[in-house]
């Protein structure tokens, strides 16, 4: 059973629309996204291809492009969308509370 663990990651205004921000917590790294329609999402922070920080990548619509090999993921679902990535990203629940972005990093 999954146990929720909500962590205050950043303010909503710290992520620009159609952009990504790195968030590190408890030895793990995450990527937080703000989509063009002003929704927030979170995934694992490292590309599944060669462990590069996705926060250094480029957000286009609902796609995050890895800065190293240009592999692509749909950050709203985590799905791998373009070579050289084949393995999808893990996604995390997000909640907005009083102008803060909260990420659920809970464990199984």
């Amino acid at each position: 059973m999954r146990v929720a663990k909500w962590i205050d990651a950043c303010g909503t205004d710290e992520i620009e629309v159609e952009d990504v921000l790195r968030f590190d917590h408890d030895g793990r790294t995450y990527a937080l996204y703000r989509s063009p329609d002003d929704r927030f999402y979170a995934t694992d922070g490292l590309c599944t291809h060669e462990q590069v920080h996705l926060a250094d990548g480029l957000v286009m619509d609902n796609i995050i492009e890895c800065p190293k090999h240009n592999g692509r993921f749909d950050y709203t679902t985590g799905q791998a969308r373009g070579a050289p990535v084949c393995i999808s990203l893990k996604t995390y629940p997000i909640r907005i509370d009083n102008g803060r972005v909260l990420i659920d990093v809970g464990t199984e």
């Binding site: 952009d19 291809h49 990548g57 957000v59 800065p67 090999h69 240009n70 070579a83």
Partner: protein, 321 residues
């Protein structure tokens, strides 16, 4: 930090338009000496421009619209005779392990260099012979051992399918050529990969040849060379090769700007391709006798991270995109 389809889209049209115009010119002037310059230009547009375009569209950085990237990538890959799925993965490895011995599959002159191979590849002869053998092999659902190292299993079916499509296209060209009792169709499809390859090879050899192996610092294993606008059109600004390796997400049309941002932290760029060759040819000759030799690039010693020539600066992440 945004990407759009402009200015790559007009440049794509210019390339394709020049290809069509030079092809029509070659056809209309057949049997006259005028067909030679037309085929010369057509060959460069087909066999050399396609190399830089295959590369750029393979990165997927030129256009925001994905399908334009993908369509242009498939077309350019066919022209330069590089199977798209194989080379996409090969190139990913090249960016991960640039000039790492035993890992980088795209080294043009392994030490000690073979001048026979280099001369043959000036017209893509050896590389195309290998590519044809591999294409046939892929059409029969077989991958080379080296390819198995960097092409994941999930992509194999795509490799085999594309190989069969390409073979079908070449079979149609061959059938038409036999039907009209002429080699002419091959002059427009297939052979330009060879007779037009020389310029992309001339550029390509400057990227890493003679530089340090087994280093992760791209300033030491890649060259940035100043080129004239025609060369940069053919080569899609890949003369800024150090910058490209450091920031592969930056589209080709932003590389000059990126170069201006970074140049104070970079080795001195080469003033021309000839200046680069004045270093490369002696290095290759020496590596024939001494494979451990390489060219050591000098890095700016006084530079401190976070400063520019004008003073302290805070880098704006991705501001050149």
């Amino acid at each position: 930090m945004k990407r759009n389809d402009y200015p790559a889209l007009p440049q794509l049209f210019v390339w394709l338009a020049l290809l069509v115009v030079s092809g029509i010119g070659a056809y209309l002037t057949l049997g006259t000496p005028w067909c030679v310059p037309f085929f010369f230009i057509y060959g460069i547009l087909y066999g050399s421009c396609s190399d830089s375009r295959w590369h750029e569209f393979g990165h997927g950085t030129a256009f925001r619209t994905r399908w334009i990237n993908d369509a242009a990538f498939q077309l350019a890959a066919f022209m330069v005779f590089r199977e798209p799925a194989i080379w996409r993965w090969s190139h990913a490895r090249h960016h991960t392990d640039t000039l790492i011995v035993g890992r980088d599959p795209e080294v043009l002159a392994k030490r000690p260099p073979s001048f026979r191979a280099l001369l043959l590849n000036f017209f893509a002869l050896q590389s195309t012979a290998t590519a044809i053998a591999r294409l046939i092999s892929h059409a029969f659902a077989r991958l080379h051992e080296e390819e198995k190292q960097f092409v994941p299993q999930i992509e194999h079916a795509r490799v085999f399918r594309t190989a069969r499509i390409w073979l079908l296209i070449y079979a149609l060209v061959a059938a038409y050529s036999i039907h009209i009792h002429s080699m002419l169709p091959w002059m427009f499809i297939g052979l330009p990969t060879l007779y037009g390859a020389w310029l992309q090879f001339y550029f390509g050899i400057t990227q890493h040849t003679g530089l340090a192996e087994d280093t992760l610092d791209h300033r030491l294993n890649s060259r940035t060379i100043y080129m004239n606008p025609i060369f940069r059109f053919v080569y899609l600004n890949m003369n800024y090769h150090t910058e490209h390796h450091m920031y592969p997400m930056v589209p080709y049309y932003k590389l000059p700007e990126l170069h201006r941002e970074l140049r104070h932290d970079m080795p001195t760029p080469y003033r021309s391709t000839l200046a680069a060759y004045r270093e490369i040819i002696p290095a290759l000759l020496r590596q024939r006798r001494d494979p451990s030799y390489f060219v050591r690039r000098n890095l700016p010693s006084a530079f401190k991270p976070g400063t520019t020539a004008a003073g302290t600066a805070t880098p704006q992440a991705g501001s050149v995109i």
